[in-house]
Amino acid sequence: MNALTLSIIGSFIALDKYAFGEFGISQPLISGTIIGALYGDIGTGIFLGAILQLICLGGLPIGTDIPPDAQTAGIVGCGSYFILRLSNTPGHALLVATLLAFLTSILGGGTDIVLRHFHDRLFHRFQHDEERLYIYHFAGLFTSFLRTFLMFLIVFVTASLITVPPHLPQLSRQLFIIIGISMGLANASYLFVKNSTIVYTIVGGLCGLALLVS
């Protein structure tokens, strides 16, 4: 699959967050699974999506706050990994894909603000032309698609051009899991561990230990 096709598919997935439904398919765990399946390696897709999901777990769109874009991170991280793997070792592909994912997630937060300002214009036009409500509203589908499409295309084309020299550091799968679990533990503790729920955390921890030992 080339960068263009992947950008189109990724942009359709990203519409889930920005324009249609919020069904959860743009979450890194799900988008990773979809992209992995498209590349014929669903196991790796699920693994990458799951670790990226742990890292992004705490980014909450509360009120009008716009955190780094976790959905973009998931799509870019998984897509770039499969593109980079064609011309790099898995360790180099993993490191570059992870960095691209989170750089784009920060950029994604910024472009989201630009897009919403552009939507201000749609609203102002509606105020002068009330008959065209549907046109101004559903134009948001196109602008949201275009935003992510351009971003994904640039990142995926860049990823397809990158070949990391062999002597440069690699990111092992084990290190990726370690840092992913660390962020996941921090995010989950911050969100869920309170005096009223600590018993459940301890029970979960004991079950986890039992699973680990067995």
């Binding site: 324009a19 249609f20 919020e22 069904f23 959860g24 979450q27 765990l29 799900i30 699974t33 669903i42 693994f47 999506g49 799951a50 890292i55 777990l57 980014g59 909450l60 769109p61 009008t64 955190p67 490191l95 960095l99 989170f102 750089l103 920060i106 919403r116 749609l122 609203f123 102002h124 509606f126 105020q127 409500l133 101004y136 509203h137 559903f138 948001g140 589908l141 949201s144 550091p169 290190l175 370690i178 840092i179 660390s182 962020m183 921090a186 989950a188 503790s189 969100l191 869920f192 561990v193 729920t197 955390t201 301890i202 029970v203 979960g204 921890g205 079950c207 986890g208 230990l209 680990l212």
Partner: protein, 232 residues
């Protein structure tokens, strides 16, 4: 009063697009007006457009409760726009706050955390589990919201005290806490995994101190490069 199936389906379908044209100037206003316009009569549409030309913003799944109640108000021919405006002003904030707390802050991260752990142990089962459970819960609120909004009118706001909000939140808080403990099952009994302890403490400290998400992500990337460079 009863909502016909066609009108219900129109509201439900348009509700999936409530965020499509989200803007800083009007937030979800165009999405809200689109939902109303799809089901109101020509006369009511004119009244509706004249009444609502401001800001509308609430939790996307919870908007169905408010839309249901507003459609009923227009169907009943309430002719004081102020009454509708007051209802929307109060309910959008209440439902936004309840939805943020229940869905964004509790249910979705708890389900994602559980699904992530399941997927790292059992593969495809995790993503499927998340999609099924999450879809059941958000569709429930969207569908029930339209019906309750329409049948209860202004009183729909009392739904916020019902078990679908309070008990479900309690359930998912506990599920999240349980899953947090279960994360231990993902580690391996190797010396390198001891790094999880200081790293987790470090990230928790950043979160507790209210450091911005962007800064945390930048720190995370620097750590990643540093650790890869030192062959940890």
């Amino acid at each position: 009063m009863r909502l016909s199936t066609t009108r219900f389906l129109k509201i439900l379908l348009s509700n999936f697009f409530i965020q499509t044209s989200w803007s800083f100037a009007a937030m979800q206003e165009l999405g809200f007006l689109t939902s109303l316009k799809m089901v109101l009569s020509k006369d009511s549409q004119k009244k509706m457009i004249a009444t609502h030309k401001g800001i509308f913003n609430t939790h996307p799944y919870m908007s169905s409760y408010i839309i249901g109640a507003t459609v009923r108000a227009y169907d009943e021919g309430i002719d004081t726009p102020e009454e509708i405006k007051n209802f929307i002003s109060i309910s959008e904030k209440s439902f936004a706050s309840a939805g943020d707390l229940l869905i964004w802050q509790t249910m979705r991260p708890a389900l994602l955390l559980m699904a992530t752990i399941v997927s790292l142990h059992f593969g495809i089962v995790g993503p499927i589990l998340f999609l099924v459970l999450y879809t059941v819960f958000h569709l429930f609120h969207r569908i029930k919201g339209i019906y309750d909004g329409y049948s209860r009118g202004w009183d729909v706001i009392y739904c916020l005290k019902s078990t679908r909000f309070t008990s479900v939140q309690y359930l998912f808080e506990n599920l999240g806490a349980l899953s947090c403990g279960l994360l231990i099952s993902l580690i391996s009994l190797q010396i390198n995994y001891l790094l999880i302890v200081p790293l987790s403490v470090f990230f928790i400290l950043l979160l507790v101190r209210g450091i911005s998400r962007v800064t945390i992500i930048v720190v995370f990337m620097l750590l990643l490069v540093l650790m890869a460079w030192t062959h940890l």
